[in-house]
């Protein structure tokens, strides 16, 4: 069953490129997104296709370093490298790129990126709970809506926004239901597989295809048919991975954890559970989007208490034995916040976290292995 699911996923991913091609021929606009703070619903409401962009592989980093400094977050370098070397099909297909002023590295990189393709950067406030931040964000989303209307040639109205919100809520609920299968003890899906599925589904232009695929995987997993073969002993340590986003190509930590006989059962990052939210369908749509998206608990916010609450909820919900907090090199906000994460986990659950700082290269695999192995010995 496992092989069938993965083959099916491969097939859907290949079809996706054709779907994108056809959509373009039909005149549908493609909007490329870099960050979870930008509401994809606005693109969907304009009849455009929202696509995430590449940025999780090491290969294009060398191309990026011809322009960008070496001492910069690998996610930023990889994203930029993919763009300048024209190796990301989704970047190529996009009519416009949407960025956010999340961190210093990204906002300055977007200035250079705009030379490659039309880029719009949302001015993201630095906190979530003041009137000033909310009103800035409201006006940014209005401006964003105008730009999407111009790009797509379609008008975004309340009805189209409402239906886009419903669609994207269904997608996120399907994602959450899939991630939640690993609340089961033992986990019903290997962490690396979960990551691959969530990662590839994200790129699908046809949201319905992704939703039905995730529903199918969830149902199979709940029947226990996707368990690793032979099944792991119930002894496998259950870990939660928090911090920076991970995807295919930047998943070395998950691989090492599995090689050492443990499981990553939960992902508290923007490639994982940070996407498990629901936009309020009863409120005025633009207002509901602004509120929900600004609440994304990323370390660029100060303070970022939402992340600590989410972590506590997930550590309980997924019954984890340990927490690995991952920071990409030169990501100051996650790097600093690691101190608070460790403090909160120790205080509430009585075990320390393992904070790892690394990049996409494989050169420090053994150094990471010894840390993770020592951490597992401690738990």
């Amino acid at each position: 069953m496992k092989t069938e699911i993965m083959n099916n996923l491969q097939q859907i991913s290949e079809e996706n490129l054709v779907d994108i091609e056809q959509a373009k021929e039909r005149g549908q606009a493609i909007v490329g997104f870099y960050c979870l703070y930008s509401p994809t619903e606005i693109a969907v409401a304009a009849g455009a296709i929202p696509l995430p962009l590449c940025g999780t592989r090491n290969d294009p980093i060398a191309a990026a370093e011809e322009t960008l400094p070496r001492n910069l977050c690998p996610l930023i370098k990889s994203s930029y490298g993919f763009a300048v070397s024209d190796t990301c099909a989704f970047f190529r297909a996009s009519d416009i790129i949407i960025g956010d002023t999340t961190c210093d590295g990204k906002k300055k990189m977007f200035e250079l990126l705009s030379r490659q393709k039309k880029t719009h950067v949302l001015q993201l406030p630095q906190n979530q709970n003041t009137e000033m931040s909310m009103s800035l964000w409201d006006s940014e989303l209005e401006r964003f809506k105008e730009i999407i209307q111009d790009t797509s040639g379609n008008t975004v109205d309340e009805a189209s926004l409402r239906s886009a919100i419903r669609l994207m809520n269904r997608e996120r609920q399907a994602r959450k239901a899939l991630m939640d299968v690993n609340k089961n003890k033992p986990a019903l899906l290997k962490g690396s597989q979960m990551l691959e599925i969530l990662f590839k589904i994200g790129f699908l232009a046809d949201k319905e295809k992704g939703i039905s695929f995730m529903e199918k995987v969830t149902a199979e997993a709940q029947k226990g048919t996707l368990l690793t073969d032979p099944p792991r002993s119930g002894e496998a340590k259950r870990l939660l991975l928090t911090g920076v986003p991970v995807g295919l190509g930047s998943d070395k930590i998950v691989k090492i954890v599995e090689q050492l006989g443990a499981d990553v059962v939960a992902f508290e990052n923007c490639s994982g559970y940070k996407q498990a939210f629901t936009v309020d369908e009863n409120k005025a749509p633009m207002e509901a989007l602004a509120e929900q998206y600004l609440a994304t608990p990323c370390s660029v916010m100060s303070p970022n208490d939402g992340r600590f609450e989410l972590l506590k909820e997930m550590i309980r919900g997924f019954q984890v034995d340990g927490v690995i907090d991952l920071t990409w090199q030169a990501c100051h906000t996650y790097n600093i916040e690691a101190f608070q994460v460790d403090e909160i986990v120790q205080k509430n659950f009585g075990f320390p976290t393992l904070h790892l700082e690394t990049d996409y290269a494989e050169s420090d695999t053994e150094q990471l292995r010894v840390r993770i192995e020592a951490y597992l010995e401690m738990l």
Binding site: P352, D364, E366, Q367, R369, V370, R371, E373, A374, E377, M378
Partner: protein, 250 residues
């Protein structure tokens, strides 16, 4: 029964044999070189044993070659340090190419650890290169530093940059002893930060080759105002910990 622990580090390999009581009844040390498994094989052929456990960076290679259990050097050092000093609360290990600090729970388990292993800054290798640049041999480096007259601050921690900083200090006419002291202090201020992140108080068991250095011992105790304990053979602590774990799990 004879229980062996082998610590395959980046610069040296140590083999320790203990008896049922945990007493060291044999030990060997060799340079790791470019073919660690051949070295390790020769060493284990020299000292017979009944059970063995491997630790250090080469542990996985050893596990594949000799089908033995392994343990991380973190846990091995905690166990080894506790055997020498049963009141040990913190361990600082400065090895050939990495340094680590760890704190130990009352029950002997590791509480927290920090490692520096992505560059040679503040490690045995760093000390070796700096000693050579100043014309000292490594055994007398600490002693020479203790003869300093003037405080000097070395700000570069990267081996490559520190070497050029040292060269420029020599050119300015500073004495090798003063420069040596500055280098020792720069290493200590770095490891002190690492220790503080894992534990705020209590004694520190200092292990690894650099623990032989008296200047380091003194500066560490002064800087943190904590008792510094150095085992008889600080380089054997990791291997000893592995040997004791081999005994406990046999």
């Amino acid at each position: 029964m004879r229980y062996a622990g082998i610590d395959i580090g980046s610069r040296t390999i140590e083999l320790v044999i203990v008896d049922d009581a945990g007493k060291i009844i044999g030990s060997l040390q060799a340079e790791t070189g470019f073919d660690p498994m051949t070295r390790a094989r020769k060493m284990i052929e020299e000292l017979p044993y009944d059970y063995i456990m491997a630790t250090g960076y080469g542990r996985n290679l050893f596990e594949i070659a000799f089908d033995t259990p392994t343990v991380t050097e973190i846990k091995a050092h905690a166990v080894g340090a506790r055997f020498y000093f049963n009141e040990a609360t913190t361990v600082l290990d400065i090895g050939g190419q990495d340094s680590k600090a760890l704190s130990i729970h009352d029950n002997g388990k590791v509480k927290k650890f920090e490692m520096n292993d992505r560059c040679a800054a503040g490690t045995g290798k760093f000390m070796e290169i700096m000693a050579r640049t100043l014309g000292f041999d490594i055994a007398s480096f600490g002693g020479e530093a203790l003869h300093f007259k003037k405080e000097l601050k070395i700000s570069s921690m990267c081996t490559v940059f520190a070497e050029s900083e040292v060269t420029s200090l020599i050119a300015k006419g500073h004495s090798p002893q003063d420069i040596a002291m500055g280098l020792h202090k720069s290493v200590i201020s770095r490891v002190a930060g690492m220790i503080k992140r894992v534990s705020g108080e209590g004694n520190i068991v200092f292990t690894g080759g650099v623990a032989h250095n008296q200047c380091m011992q003194k500066l560490l105790a002064d800087k943190l105002d904590r008792q510094v304990l150095v085992p008889d053979d600080p380089q054997l602590v990791g291997a000893l910990g592995a040997a004791l774990l081999a005994r406990d799990t046999a």
